[in-house]
């Protein structure tokens, strides 16, 4: 049994004419996405801005209402939960955001920010216990518990992200959706936060849905990785498999675009033309075809389905041949 199973999830936003006008079009932010997360594992979700990765993360927690599809949490369908039941379920799944300063109330002390989660879910029977719990949580994320009465602005960016994590941990969740948790931080601090997340996972068995645009980081901490483009998953595989045998031309370009430090490394670079098209009016056929260096006529008319190419490796591309090679795959074409 998976911890979380998402089936054919779609999220659509109305595009209106003016402020009160009628709906002009529907923006498909997330389009029929399947996703599975096991207890205690990390699933990475990568893509460029506007690909729908954050929307998907929020829709899973029902912070944005999905238009279609099902979210199954440990065999229970939570897609239709509401009111009290939904609130109770939320204890089990939490989220941390990119910019911790925007997710913290500037007029609330850090202790209260963490304690609020305890209050909402009635996890601390009395004052004394509440304080102890807050102190223990702060300690577990590497913050000095004596600073519980300080305000968010008195902390640095990395420390604020630790507060966000402590807040999520307060309710002892089984899943934390990490939405670009380190992209606003300096490199030296990024590593601290990533290590903290890894430690917490090891000691508490929390599963993560790790959303980021930094493929190197996602590959580093995830067991499986999903690549999104214009609202759809275009490829999903084991992290190492995805890195060494990417099948979708977009994944290949994404990997080649990651700058590498090693001055001795020599990689073939695929520099994509153009930019991500508007999701309001996506290209027909394969949404990636206008930027794809190998697009064929059928890519312009028929949308490729996400299919299992080999065990545990799915890709949505017409160009994958029977021997699992694509024009840009360096291992298959031997260039």
């Amino acid at each position: 049994m998976s911890l979380l199973e998402v089936r054919q999830l779609s999220v659509r936003f109305p595009v209106r004419r003016g402020l009160f006008g009628g709906v002009r079009a529907w923006l498909r932010a997330v389009d029929r996405v399947d996703l599975e997360i096991q207890t205690g594992e990390t699933v990475g979700l990568v893509g460029e801005s506007g690909c729908g990765k954050s929307t998907l993360g929020r829709a899973i927690l029902r912070l944005i209402e999905p238009a279609d599809g099902q979210i199954i949490w440990k065999d229970t369908d939570i897609t239709t939960l509401s009111g009290r039941e939904l609130r109770q379920w939320r204890r089990q799944a939490q989220i941390i955001f990119q910019d911790p300063i925007n997710s913290l109330d500037p007029r609330q002390t850090v202790g209260d920010a963490i304690g609020e989660a305890l209050d909402v879910h009635k996890l601390a029977p009395n004052r004394r216990e509440r304080q102890d719990r807050i102190a223990a949580l702060m300690e577990s994320v590497g913050l000095d518990p004596s600073r519980a009465s300080d305000y968010p602005h008195e902390f640095s960016g990395g420390q604020r992200q630790r507060i966000g994590i402590a807040r999520a941990l307060a309710v002892q969740p089984d899943l934390i959706v990490c939405d670009e948790p380190v992209s606003a931080l300096d490199v030296s601090i990024q590593a601290q936060i990533v290590n903290l997340l890894l430690d917490l996972q090891r000691t508490r068995g929390i599963a993560y849905l790790f959303i980021a645009h930094d493929l190197a980081l996602v590959e580093h901490i995830s067991r499986r990785v999903l690549v999104m483009y214009l609202g759809r998953v275009v490829e999903s595989a084991d992290a190492t498999e995805l890195l060494h045998h990417p099948l979708h031309p977009y994944t290949q370009a994404l990997i080649s675009a990651v700058p590498v430090l090693d001055p001795d490394s020599r990689r073939k670079r695929i520099i994509l033309g153009g930019e991500v098209p508007s999701p309001i009016n996506p290209p027909p056929g394969c949404a990636f075809h206008p930027r794809c260096p190998w697009a064929e006529p059928k890519c312009k008319s028929i949308a490729p389905a996400l299919r299992e190419v080999k065990q545990g490796h799915k890709a949505a591309c017409h160009l994958i041949t029977a021997d699992n090679s694509t024009p840009g795959n360096p291992t298959a074409t031997n260039t």
Binding site: V187, H220, L243
Partner: protein, 356 residues
């Protein structure tokens, strides 16, 4: 994936540090011992202290640092873009193309801005006027600095050069009608319109997606080849450094801690901060259980530690490091470090298993 013969390709890219190429006797940009303070606090906030930096004609230098390290202050000081007050140029000299910037009257300075040095910033929307078309803004830059070229044709040529599709029609677009990547291209077109000798790019790709970042870096390399201009690129991303730099200067808490030719710095860092920074970056295919974090935080410009500024976070710190402020010392040809113990420390950057 890593054949050793590829090293030669980098050697050609590295221009000599101190003695420059024949015909270019003095560097294009020479910042000497620059110290800048802010505010009326006591003691004042020292954004940078004793910064020395040179950029030669046609060279690409990267200035690498974390937030609050003083890298943007250094960049802005080159054309004296930091208004004073609140900034105070306490000490030092900035020589740009034979002019000493800090002593220059405003009228002469204005002739250098654009013609000798121009800027590209992180947020393209910050350098573009939202209520005027892209074309008219580039035309204005041309009228100011290259009046003989101030024509619609030249604007279209520039837009085409930076890779904006159908430049004739896009010239009439307003900035908000363009994507972030296109805006940055337009901002670059505006910056190079005046044919500057030095392009200062302050985190030009930080706000962009990785595939667009690759495009913009490629574009900058191309333009450099075409115009032979020098580039000073300010970044926090060591991966970008590897892609584009000839030489690198690493800045920490307001001081340059190491400077070296790019490949050498990445292969053989000689300062513990540089070495730690390189190891902190997650690299594709370098899967390990944990990342190498640097403990603590970048000190703010108000309470910088005594002695070596990196010592509270340095894994090799010794008692002496708390007291003595180290100086930049040579550590090889064109290679300088602010760590007196550099030759005794195991500063191996990339572990051998990373080259699998």
């Amino acid at each position: 994936m890593v054949p050793a013969e590829s090293t030669g390709q980098h050697k050609d890219r590295v221009l000599p540090g101190a003695p420059s190429r024949p015909g270019a006797a003095s560097p294009l940009l020479d910042i000497k011992n620059l110290t800048i303070e802010f505010g009326s606090f006591n003691p004042p906030a020292r954004a940078i202290e004793g910064v020395c930096l040179t950029v030669h004609h046609g060279e690409t230098v990267c200035l690498v640092g974390e937030s609050g390290s003083g890298k943007s202050v250094t960049a802005l000081s080159i054309a004296r873009l930091l208004s004073s007050p609140p900034a105070r140029y306490v000490e030092g000299e900035i020589w740009l193309d034979g002019h000493e910037i800090l002593g220059l009257p405003e009228t002469e300075l204005r002739r250098l801005r654009g013609r000798v040095v121009s800027y590209v910033f992180q947020e393209p929307s910050a350098s573009l006027n939202p209520v005027r078309t892209i074309g008219s803004q580039i035309l204005e830059a041309l009228k100011l600095h290259q009046p003989s070229l101030a024509t619609k044709e030249e604007v279209v040529r520039l837009l085409a050069m930076v890779g904006i599709p159908s430049p004739e029609t896009r010239a009439d677009d307003y900035p908000h009608q363009m994507s972030g990547g296109m805006q940055q291209r337009a901002a670059i077109a505006m910056a190079i319109a005046s044919r500057p000798k030095l392009l200062v790019a302050d985190e030009p790709t930080t706000a962009l997606d990785v595939t667009v970042q690759a495009q913009i870096l490629d574009l900058m390399r191309e333009l450099q080849g075409e115009f032979g201009m020098a580039i000073l690129l300010i970044t926090h991303n060591l991966g970008i450094v590897r892609e584009i730099a000839n030489r690198v200067a690493v800045i920490y808490a307001g001081q340059i801690v190491e400077t070296a030719p790019c490949a050498e710095l990445l292969r053989q860092p000689r300062h513990p901060y540089t070495a730690a920074l390189i190891r902190a970056v997650p690299e594709l295919g370098r899967r390990a259980n944990r990342l190498h974090a640097i403990p603590g935080q970048v000190p703010s410009s108000f309470d910088r530690p005594e002695g070596c500024r990196f010592h509270p976070r340095c894994e090799f710190a010794r008692p002496e490091c708390q007291k003595n402020s180290p100086l930049l010392i040579p550590a090889g040809l064109g290679h300088w470090t602010r760590c007196p113990w550099h030759d005794q420390l195991p500063l191996a950057p990339l572990s051998p298993d990373s080259k699998a």
